[in-house]
Symmetry: C2
Subunit: 341 residues, 2 copies
């Protein structure tokens, strides 16, 4: 099987010659060649330049035997596209100088033409497919609720107090913004599909801050709405906290569920029925000894079973992860032989 066939089969739950592997944030700060580029340009400049973004997307493929790439970008261009500036300060996460906290703020938001407002990633995809036609590439977007978190909070947070206050105090405005985000995200996923991605993933990173009732009101319906707007290739749904919502995840409309490391992948598959899954090594495992990494990778593969599994981390790779650990993980995926053979 070539990489395209292997990824396509795994994401559709069909038999594969071996489990494919890629990992979240594989193009990023743990790579010296990425830091070399970042020494010359800022994160935002990198996200805004298709040539550089394509180069960075290609970097991990040169080092590691990976079965897929994910386009280098961020989830926040969608927030900029609907009308809010995002800045990145060194050593901090993203900041929105003007967060959206009330109906008047929300009225300033605009529903963008995604082909116009979000043209960098499509260009990056076109370049990548020309330079590296043998490797499937994934597109992605933030899920509507997770984008709302940044839009309202104005940056990362421990409590997400402002976001939850909006949900509690002005549900009408929150629903309005989420609807706008869902349609924009859906159109953006379709745009990436139209530029040849093999799959798309939405990241509902912060859905896990919600109660199950709030998840059903604020996160799930808008993830469904975004995913329903795009079709053509497999769609993946990832949340950093899948355990509380596991039973609900088959209703997202996604074809594949990306699991974080806090669930047993074998038990999760029982709950998810015949849905393919992706995951779920704890990214911090990569700081451990090689034998321990191998043991953990093989345990996951044994529990996940041979079909319908794409190997991945359970969250993005950490910026100072040792490259030897990444090598050990990928070697372990390649060396796995199920005892049932």
């Amino acid at each position: 099987m070539n990489k395209h066939e292997r990824m396509a089969a795994a994401l559709r739950g069909q038999p594969v010659d071996r489990t494919p592997v890629w990992f979240m944030r594989q193009a990023g700060r743990y790579l010296p060649e990425y830091m070399e580029i970042r020494s010359k340009v800022s994160f935002l400049e990198l996200c805004g330049d298709p040539d550089l973004a394509c180069e960075v997307t290609l970097q991990p493929l040169r080092r590691f035997k990976l079965d897929a790439a994910i386009v280098f970008s961020d989830i926040l261009p969608v927030v900029e596209a609907i009308g809010r500036e995002v800045t990145f300060e060194k050593g901090h996460g993203p900041r929105l100088p003007n967060p959206v906290r009330c109906a008047a703020d929300a009225a300033e938001l605009v529903r963008p033409d995604v082909a116009d407002a979000l043209h960098i990633v499509p260009k990056t995809l076109d370049l990548f497919r020309k330079l590296e036609p043998n490797t499937p590439i994934l597109g992605f977007a933030g899920a509507p609720f997770t984008l709302l978190c940044y839009l309202v909070e104005g940056g990362g947070s421990k409590s997400w107090k402002h976001t939850k206050q909006l949900l509690l105090s002005d549900p009408k405005t929150a629903h309005m913004i989420l609807g706008m985000l869902a349609d924009t995200v859906g159109d953006y996923l379709q745009l990436q599909m139209d530029h040849g991605v093999a799959a798309v993933q939405i990241f509902d990173t912060w859905a896990g801050i919600l109660t199950p009732e709030d998840y059903k009101t604020w996160a799930l319906p808008y993830a469904q709405r975004a995913l329903a707007r795009a079709s053509g290739v497999p769609k993946l749904y990832f949340t950093r906290d899948s355990a509380p919502f596991l039973k609900l995840l088959p209703t997202t409309g996604a074809d594949v569920i990306g699991l974080d490391w806090r669930v047993d992948i074998g038990e999760a598959r029982k709950v998810l029925g015949d849905m393919p899954v992706q995951g779920n090594l704890d990214p911090i495992s990569l700081y451990g000894p090689n034998e321990e990494i191998t043991r953990r990778v093989h345990n996951i593969m044994r529990a996940a079973g041979p079909t319908g599994h794409t190997f991945n981390l359970g969250h993005g790779v950490q910026p100072d992860t040792p490259i030897t650990g990444v090598h050990a993980m990928i070697e372990a995926v390649h060396s796995f032989r199920s005892t049932e053979d």
Copy 2:
């Protein structure tokens, strides 16, 4: 029923006249009278003075119709007792100038005589019971794994990288420290029981950073060991992330499970069998309108059922929580009438 009878019954799953209520961090920064005291003494001075600690423990009882108090203290005195200094800088969480990262560091730790090293809380309990004999008071401790997190990391963390690195790279040292912590915590719980607490709670706040396999190796056995060392009154186990481990929680040896807000309390009770529970309002709900707080409190009470439930937040109250929100929550607990009546 008086407060003692009501709490005792709820924690044992016996019938009550109404669901009792207290909440985590009810003695704390959201109260102006607490901030008044803190304008004169530091957090560590407050924790080290039984008269002041008792006064602060009493404060929320004067404002709110609460069924129990929890002794004012912190989870980190146990870390100091086994040999590591803890400092608190303004605006930051706790810091350990000398974290424990290797076998040589661990060899410096000492198994303390808890009656000697942890004498403040017993004195505070004696004072409280003299001044407020009508209100039951809970004792508490950090669970061994959560204490290990602070001990190794040297403070709060997003990734808990150093802690996980120790587990991966030097499991022998990690098990040694956890054993020492478990025995110390167990003795400390017994000491608090000997000074008249109505119940004890252990906080395994950070257990949720672990995979299920790691939870079974590093958190669960040491929580069991600590809880097994103390007996006499009901024992509660709380973790900030109960969803991934729900099935395992009846094996902790606790009598009552404290649930965070990310699980449906009704569904959790089905998994936990006949174990009494405590919880589980999202603390950020208290920033919402009163009617919405009431609706959420009543939904929780309806889902939890009339017996074996102690009402609480799903995590500690936030420092800038509006007092009106706290009043609304407590009023809602008192005003609830189950539709089955």
